[in-house]
Amino acid sequence: MPLADGPLGAVHRAVASRVVAALATRFRDLDLAEEGYAEALAKAAARWSDGAPANTEGWLYRTAERAILDRLRRRAVRQRHAAAEQPLLHEEEEEDETMLDTALIPDERLRLIFVCCHPALSDEARIALTLKTVCRLGTVEIARAFLVPEPTVAQRLVRAKRKIAEAGVPFEVPGPQLWAERLEAVLATIEIAYAQAHEDGAGSGRHAGFGPEMLGLTRLLAELLPDEHEVLALAATIHFAEARRPARIDPAGAMVPLAEQDPDEWDRVLIARGDALLRRGFALRSESVRLLKAGIHAAWCRRRSLAEPAPWSKVLALYDGLLRLRDDPFVRLNRAVALAEVASPDAALAEVAALDEERMEAYLPYHAVKADLLRRTGETALAAEPYAAALALAPPAAEAAWLRGRLVECT
């Protein structure tokens, strides 16, 4: 879409998801909404050369709505039976520029998010559809982020939209009975998508621009659902994690472990926003897995400089809290890292040794943590093997560079 790069690009990006959401819920059809919006954009490009209307959003919505009604009318004429029975829609409506300027459109983005994240869709379909429809990422960008060919993403989107239409996925915010399950599906979708964005420490590689989209999405969700502590916790976590992105990689391109990152390079504005979100979350509920995980990020982000001691004992206490809520080997592994600092690497090594090796085998941090602990207990020769095992799991470039550096020290 050439407009997206032109002078109207900013307007387009700001209002697109709102307008498409309003159209999609009005017509209960994602394709019609996108087609109508594209038509309205093309008209805007032609007409706004002398200046945009005051209410660009309303203008785009009404123009798209009209384009869609035209399409439906043409479709109805083609299917003669239906046309004979149904009155023509809005035939008498004339273009009225003043109305276009004042029309307010409802914010239906929450409904759209629930449609895109319906648990009847596969994880990858939900992620692709949410990124495309709500975050307005292009198919090419999504394909690049997930390292899959563009036609694969396009096909996922087509299939997802077809399922929504044909299986009757509702264009509604779920009621109280389904709320918990459906909200969990939304949060899980964002978490999986973000985990993939976050994996690449550099953030300048294939996921460039993708973390910020997730940031925007969780901020929006926190705005729309201000009383959901899980939403606030996830939004806070993503704010903290994105705040640290500039410090996650050294000039040579290697990953910098959290405790060695220079807090000076962290984004204080994002951290303040994360703190505010998390405070609201904890005000609603004393603890939950997501709140405690966000709390660990917050503990780190409170560090002001490398001279200040790292918050290991606070982090250890939070991991203990997490384990009380849900015993999980991945949490135990992370706890061991903190335990090594607060108690000793030997104590941590004993914890790691107690984990189910088979279950952890494909999990890169398991090998990296084990190697690090062995190195620190003086078992340098033994550390080489788990470092190599971590490298064999094909980590992103920055992490691989760091692991290779450590491996060289051990051999």
């Binding site: 319906h118 299986a167 009757g168 996925v169």
Partner: protein
């Protein structure tokens, strides 16, 4: 919209025919039918797959086979046709379908019959 709710279970839990599991599940189906009566448009239980005969067409040639179309761990044992406003409502009904032990209910939207077709 109409949805077919297809019930898959390991039919061996029902033994050879009339056992306790069967008796129990039938009672629960009756209760399910009473509770969801207004939505239910049809449905039946099916005899065991041992009683199935499959007519297969391959390259225009038809042949008969003893048994179901494919050997699977769980078998289609019955179905309901329900009327629901959307997928969420259909899923809510599917969740209430009694299952003897382990099993699955597939929720499939039914194609609207073409104009002029029976049904």
């Amino acid at each position: 919209m109409q949805y077919a709710l297809l019930i898959y279970e390991d039919e061996s839990v029902y033994g050879d025919g009339w056992n306790e599991a069967m008796q129990d599940v039938i009672g629960r189906h009756v209760a399910f039918g009473q509770k969801n009566g207004p939505a239910i448009r049809g449905g039946q239980g099916l005899h065991r797959t041992a009683q199935a005969t499959t007519v297969r067409t391959t390259g225009g040639q038809q042949s008969l086979h003893d048994g179901p179309f494919a050997e699977t761990r769980e078998q289609l044992g019955g179905f309901y046709i329900v009327e629901a406003t959307d997928l969420d409502e259909a899923i809510a009904i599917a969740r209430q379908i009694p299952i003897a032990k382990d099993g699955a209910v597939e929720v499939r939207p039914v194609m609207p019959a073409p104009e002029g077709a029976a049904g």
